[in-house]
Subunit: 440 residues, 2 copies
């Protein structure tokens, strides 16, 4: 096989579901019983080099099959494409997928269809990074600013960010990159942990896990709130007592409130010095977040894990609605759209603290923050990647978090690949686990 | 069978696609080649009364299978429900579908999953109206205001509209309802037509159809714009010459532009006195629409066919971003969410001119506008329902448009049912049409 002539020969999909609802890991005010799942795909080629592209959409159980169907609907756009060309310009495929004149009716650029596009593009980036022999963060950090700009779709952004301005930001971002790369490899990237704070945990478990987090070197933890105010007061008091006055405690309502209730509830917890209130209301409500932010300062407002695309992030920034931008690696249109979102955050000077947890979201998103540190914003000040200590064992290149920091990945790719045995065990409904333990 | 004990026994789905791309009917700047399609469902019961509930999501071809998969994912929430209870309170099912703690991750309340919810709820409303022996508009217009309020999900709305205020609006809306019902039955509801204005039509066809529209009694037509400015100038001039100065000409860019381009392009067409500019930019861009509106007045700004839910409509109204609200019967979470949207429009005093066309959208949405006229806003001033003269023959109770007005439907239900023969012919990919004429 002539490697230069290699093509994509398969896009295989897998419905993988982990039975996390049976442990109450991951329970919050809106999502009491998630089964953390992945609509997973593998791109195969005839290059003969053994390299594959892996990607996925994270879901929380039911509907993972719908997400797989959406990824399947994109197969015809990918099969047969020359691998070298595809990996040299994922942005070209991004424009084809987002622009499909019939599929875009199902969004546009939101929900099931857009997450499917993100999964496919992330798989392409995984393959591209493996072919370069670099972890994705390094491929991005080493790339020409002009090429990075070519990977971004500026449609609907130019009232806030033009390609010319993006190029300036990326050129400026490269100054001192070598020093920051060395620093990143030495120290890693700051993390915060949500593991102590799930709603389903009792106070003793909260205290134990919060103390353990501080002992492990974390300087920020996060608590789920929003189900019951008296409970939240008690849990915030418990957590503050456990960690002391210096550790940041973020609180997260997972979209539970209307605007007035968000303001009232957050202010009722202000005595415990929460660092940010996350998802106080609908992720679609730009003006609502702006109203909440005005009313709860100095508590910061954070959102993003359910923000559907760059256009809503643009408005959150234009409206002064957020203090902290929480991009998600698998919610929007892949690395390409996340480049746009990182550029918007840099332009508006808002720190990015990515959403992670779930299945494999930590593995993916670390690459985006590390690129941002090395070659765009140039700082980790007030920035940290969420960390949840679940399900990493299913990945072939799991995150390494120690001393409150993510170690920079060194293996080529986007850290997206699951072990074959995990897929075989947790494929739904016929994997060996589900065949024995059918869902309710 | 005891009718009081009747239950839902089946939710059957159908992937129905019409080959409209072969005629360029429906072509616009973003959707050059739509195959108008329906992800269609039928609710069956064991009541023995022969009544079924019909509903659908409109799509434009590829991805209709993904939409069907999303409807299938809701089946378990519907099967076995007591029919009388379901039809007495579709709002209860609405809360269950929107609130499914795992499925909501796929939205929330947007895109494929939310449109599936809308299709199922619309089918329930169709069945409810048939059981009442009333067309849906009349069921809604006759309903108690308190009950209508109970059908609305006010989550994320209360900073703009509370249940109490909604009740006031509905109580006020009933004054004079009997007279308006009589007027509606006599005159119908105003329509405007998009049939002359598709991008794929040449100037002679545009002129011929525009003149025919005026002769048919329409006082407003609509032109697609946004592909090429010189073409648009010529087409607007042609249309204005054809219809004279008195007929309103709306223009529709179908999301083609960024903010600055929308302003520039619209102002370049101002000489032809466009009535509104529709979808000047992304349907997600509340702040963008507000900026466009400030810069193109007195040309009005209209949007809504792709607005994902009530939360975005709320913000469009709060931000003063639109002059005309174009709700769609099959984009959001069914009749329940459209009640919320009609109430928001009434609260802000913004006229509703629904999006229609597609497959069956005219059939559905007329019921919502007629309810609004009889029992909510109480007026048709500056209001008109879009009309496109395609595909009505596939419906068992097709719209009747004459003299520029929709005749009020009198048959019980939501006018959503397709002929069995149409489904059998156009089911994809095995219907008799597609079996003979495979898609490219």
């Amino acid at each position: 096989m002539n490697a230069a002539a290699a093509r994509i020969t398969a896009l295989d999909t897998y419905d993988v579901r982990f039975p996390t609802s049976r442990e109450l890991d991951g329970s919050d005010a809106m999502n009491p019983d998630p089964d953390y799942s992945a609509a997973y795909l593998v791109l195969r080629t005839d290059a003969g080099d053994g390299l594959e592209g892996h990607g996925f959409t994270f879901t929380i159980g039911r509907g993972n099959d719908v997400q797989v169907a959406a990824i399947d609907a994109l197969r015809a756009h990918v099969l047969g494409r020359p691998v070298a060309e595809l990996c040299a310009d994922p942005g070209a495929l991004s424009r084809i997928l987002v622009g499909d004149s019939q599929l875009r009716w199902l969004g546009p650029e939101k929900g099931v269809m857009h997450m499917a596009i993100g999964a496919v593009l992330n798989a392409v980036w995984d393959l591209a990074a493996k072919r370069e022999g670099k972890p994705l963060w390094r491929l991005l950090a080493d790339a020409d600013p002009e090429w990075l700009v070519s990977q971004v779709d500026f449609r609907y952004l130019t009232d806030a960010l033009t390609p010319g301005r993006a190029l300036e930001l990326l050129r400026a971002g490269r100054r001192g990159a070598a020093g920051r790369t060395a620093e990143l490899l030495r120290r890693g990237y700051p993390a915060y942990t949500t593991s102590p704070g799930w709603l389903g945990y009792d106070d003793a478990k909260l205290t134990r896990l919060a103390k353990a987090a501080v002992a492990d070197g974390f300087t920020q933890i996060k608590l789920k709130v929003g189900a019951d105010l008296a409970d939240d007061v008690r849990r915030c008091r418990t957590a503050r007592a456990a960690v002391g006055p210096r550790v940041r405690i973020a609180i997260d309502a997972n979209q539970r409130w209307d605007v007035a209730e968000a303001i009232e509830w957050t202010n009722a917890l202000a005595a415990f010095d929460p660092y940010w209130i996350e998802e106080p209301t609908s992720p679609d409500d730009v003006l609502g977040h702006a109203a909440v932010r005005r009313a709860v300062a100095p508590v910061k407002v954070a959102t993003g894990e359910h923000v559907q695309n760059r256009i809503v992030f643009k408005q959150l920034l234009q409206a002064g609605a957020i203090d902290v931008l929480q991009l998600d690696a698998a919610r929007v249109g892949g690395v390409n759209e996340n480049l746009a979102i990182l550029l918007l955050a840099a332009e508006f000077g808002v720190p990015v603290c990515p959403h992670a947890g779930g299945v494999g979201l930590c593995e993916l998103v670390q690459h985006l923050s590390m690129f941002d540190y090395v070659a765009l914003s140039g700082t980790v000040e007030d920035r940290a990647i969420e960390y949840v200590d679940h399900l990493h064992q299913h990945f072939t290149d799991p995150v390494v978090v120690a001393g409150g920091h993510y170690a920079a990945p060194t293996a080529p790719g986007f850290s997206a690949a699951m072990h074959r045995a995990s897929i075989d065990t947790y494929r739904y409904p016929h994997g060996t686990y589900w065949a024995k333990e059918p869902a309710a």
